[in-house]
């Protein structure tokens, strides 16, 4: 038990034991010494010389040796008649006789490192309850709950006595008997005569960490008999007494590095179990408990790979009971980008070490079979061909260019570019997508599209991998067609400005494919992702992503790209309008608005 609570009444007789501190030994030959420090803490009043209590060094019996009456004023703060005050002091435990210096480091502030029990005595400014004023049930147990902590792998010993001390139960002409109800097989023995409870053998937490017994008390006086049952809980404290082990014997995993070569990529994971618990608090200790180090002298390996370790609690079920243990996850992670030309296979070993475990096999080896495959930079053996309407505007998106497996790359950056075309019609350009995987083709000079002499334009296409400079070549054919349509002078440059279908579809704007903006009719009521809006191309705008072509000019698709104010009922995405109320339209680089469809003329004053 870590804490003891007891009441002390003003008129309580002195010279009698108040309570008994129990302790268990770490080894058979160890001696047990209990000690008190010269001071104690009086709640609301601070530190005081301990004039009232003494402890028997070898039995742990705490005696109450001097009446509190004379010192009441100290207790109860200069006569302020608080009905109760508390005295708090530690009872120290040692395997050596006390010399008194233990108290210096062990004063009540900082006891984490000194074995002790904390005693809290409530000084009650009233006479002791007489026999008839105490309910029978209260004579059995104090209000301390019967919960105990026993370290595993330690010798047997007595850890509690059920019977209360005489002055704790005021009635003389009654009989109180105790019983402990527990399964025979449990490692506890109750001595009927002394009412003491013993743990009869060394416990193993990894087999069972909780025991629930029942303490039954029967009180008989002349006329009646009552009984009371209280749970008696024993928690087994853990020691690091089991080595790390592999859950299903697998200490090897394959790790293939191919298309994903960027720093931070998790290549493989292996589990190591430990039947012991791993306290996460305090943080620094938990991290040091288990280590995982790459065992190699190859500088390149050390530089290129790292091991990340996390742990969490799991449960083992040895013969039916549930016991906490720990699962350690070791992830092999790329520590830097690997060139696409790198190609090798080898085994990487990781030593896992349980630093706190003292026995054999405290560490074990994990093996990662690593194969790094080269990546080729090639275009699929097709030539790209796209048809473009002559009325298409600047920044209209024509199509995508992608070398083999390009969408599976991460950490591989491909730069796409168009060389000079076969005819002097420079109408199209290409830009990298956000993660430099594929290239987006777009119109960058719409005037060229209107030249009759430009009908079919062929571009050589080049793809270069940034780090290795490896190249790939292909060809792109752009075929222009469609009858030219005249644009009304009044039209502005951005489809997003239009608030109605008619206004929208009678004009063009940056990014339109066929010379006219497209009206997206919304659905749903209130604020919805499917708001009505005027777009250059409904396929790419709004689609919730501000792609690399759209981000070239704020007028192309403010619905996806705007960072300016959005007025009216809306929900903002990372950029742009994720959801809007009714119709959303924008004054690029100024504000965007989402308003109900039945927009009347705005009120205007004066005039």
């Amino acid at each position: 038990r870590k804490e003891y609570h007891e009441n002390v009444y003003i008129d309580q007789p002195v010279g009698l034991p108040l309570l008994r501190i129990h302790a268990l030994k770490d080894s058979e030959e160890e001696e047990v010494h209990f000690g008190l420090c010269p001071d104690l803490v009086i709640q609301r009043d601070g530190i005081h010389k301990n004039l009232w209590f003494q402890i028997q060094e070898n039995t742990g019996l705490l005696f109450f040796n001097r009446s509190l009456e004379k010192d009441l004023h100290k207790m109860l703060l200069g006569g302020s008649w608080a009905t109760m005050s508390k005295l708090v002091f530690p009872v120290l435990l040692s395997s050596q006789p006390f010399q008194g210096k233990e108290c210096q480091s062990a004063h009540s502030y900082n006891l984490q490192h000194v074995p002790h029990a904390k005693v809290t005595l409530s000084v009650i400014n009233a006479t002791m309850p007489s026999c008839h004023s105490t309910a029978l049930g209260q004579m059995c147990f104090t209000d301390m709950d019967l919960s105990f902590q026993i370290k595993e792998n330690k010798p047997p010993g007595t850890f509690h006595q059920l019977q209360l001390f005489p002055q704790q139960q005021p009635c003389q002409n009654i009989s109180i008997s105790y019983k402990v109800i527990a399964d025979e097989s449990l490692p506890f023995h109750y001595d009927q005569n002394t009412t003491t409870i013993r743990v009869t053998r060394s416990l193993d937490r990894e087999t069972r960490e909780k025991y629930e017994l029942l303490a039954k008390c029967t009180v008989r006086d002349a006329s009646k008999e009552t009984s009371k049952e209280v749970p008696l809980l024993v928690t087994v404290l853990d020691e690091d007494d089991t080595p790390p082990f592999l859950p299903n014997g697998t200490n090897t995993a394959d790790a293939v590095v191919e298309f994903c070569r960027k720093e931070g990529t998790v290549l493989a994971t292996l589990m190591v179990y430990d039947a012991d618990t791993t306290p996460i608090f305090p943080l620094e200790n938990s991290r040091k408990k288990y280590t995982g180090t790459i065992s190699t002298s190859d500088a390149w390996v050390k530089e290129t790979f790292r091991v990340e370790h996390i742990f969490n609690e799991i449960y083992f079920n040895p013969n039916g009971s549930q016991v906490r243990g720990t699962q350690h996850e070791y992830k092999l992670v790329l520590n830097k980008v690997i060139s696409i030309t790198e190609s090798r296979s080898f085994q990487l070993d990781v030593i896992v070490n349980d630093t706190e475990y003292q026995g054999p096999d405290k560490s074990l080896m994990l093996h990662f079979n690593i194969s790094i495959l080269p990546v080729s930079i090639q275009f699929p053996n097709i030539t790209y061909q796209f048809t473009v309407n002559r009325n298409a505007a600047n920044f209209s998106q024509i199509g995508k260019i992608c070398i083999n497996n390009c969408m599976r790359f991460c950490g591989i950056n491909i730069m796409y570019s168009l060389q000079a075309p076969n005819v002097s019609c420079y109408a199209v350009n290409i830009v990298q997508s956000h993660e430099d995987k594929d290239g987006s083709l777009y119109v960058n000079d719409s005037a060229v599209l209107r030249k009759p002499e430009c009908k079919e334009i062929q571009y050589p296409v080049l793809a270069v991998e940034k780090q290795s400079k490896k190249e790939a070549h292909s060809y792109l054919t752009v075929i222009l067609d469609g009858k030219l349509i005249r644009n009304d002078e009044g039209c502005l440059d951005s489809c997003a400005r239009s608030k109605t279908r008619s206004e929208c579809e009678e004009c063009g704007g940056l990014g339109v494919l066929t010379g006219r903006c497209q009206w997206r009719k919304g659905s749903g009521t209130g604020i919805t992702p499917n708001y009505s809006t005027c777009s250059p191309s409904i396929r790419t705008c709004p689609d919730g992503k501000c792609d690399t072509v759209e981000s070239k000019d704020p007028r192309i698709c403010p619905q996806d790209c705007t960072n300016t104010n959005i007025i009216g009922g809306h929900e903002r995405g990372l950029t742009g309008i994720k959801a809007g109320n009714g119709i959303c339209y924008c004054f690029p680089e100024e504000n965007c608005y989402c308003e109900k469809d039945d927009i009347k003329e705005p009120l205007c004053d004066d005039m």
Binding site: G526, G569, K596, D605, D606, M607
Partner: protein
């Protein structure tokens, strides 16, 4: 028309009646600016008025011939909608009015 100078008024409205598309049973305090700005006019305003009367200039809803009574500071308004999601709307309710422009 004495005390009809530009100043703050407020009323309690249902969030739904704000017309911004939020579905909510909550009510919010909405303050707005209303009132005359006659006392803030300049030579420009008098001239504009005269040119319109002389029909040198056409009357137009986008032509204001005196400063307008507008908020110069706003209050944020927060409420929970019908799906128990929180919303905060900026620049919704006026906090202070003045004749501006």
């Amino acid at each position: 028309s004495r005390n009809r100078h530009c100043r703050l008024h407020s009323l309690t409205v249902k969030v739904r009646d704000l017309g911004l598309g939020f579905e909510s049973e909550e009510i919010v305090r909405f303050s707005y600016c209303i009132g005359s700005c006659e006392s803030a006019r300049t030579n420009y305003d008098l001239t504009l008025q005269n040119l319109v009367q002389l029909e040198v200039l056409m009357r137009d809803k986008h032509l204001s011939s005196n400063p307008c009574c507008r908020p110069v500071r706003y209050e944020v308004v927060s409420f929970m909608d019908a799906r128990n999601a929180w919303h905060t709307v900026d620049n919704l309710s006026a906090a202070e009015c003045r004749c501006v422009g």
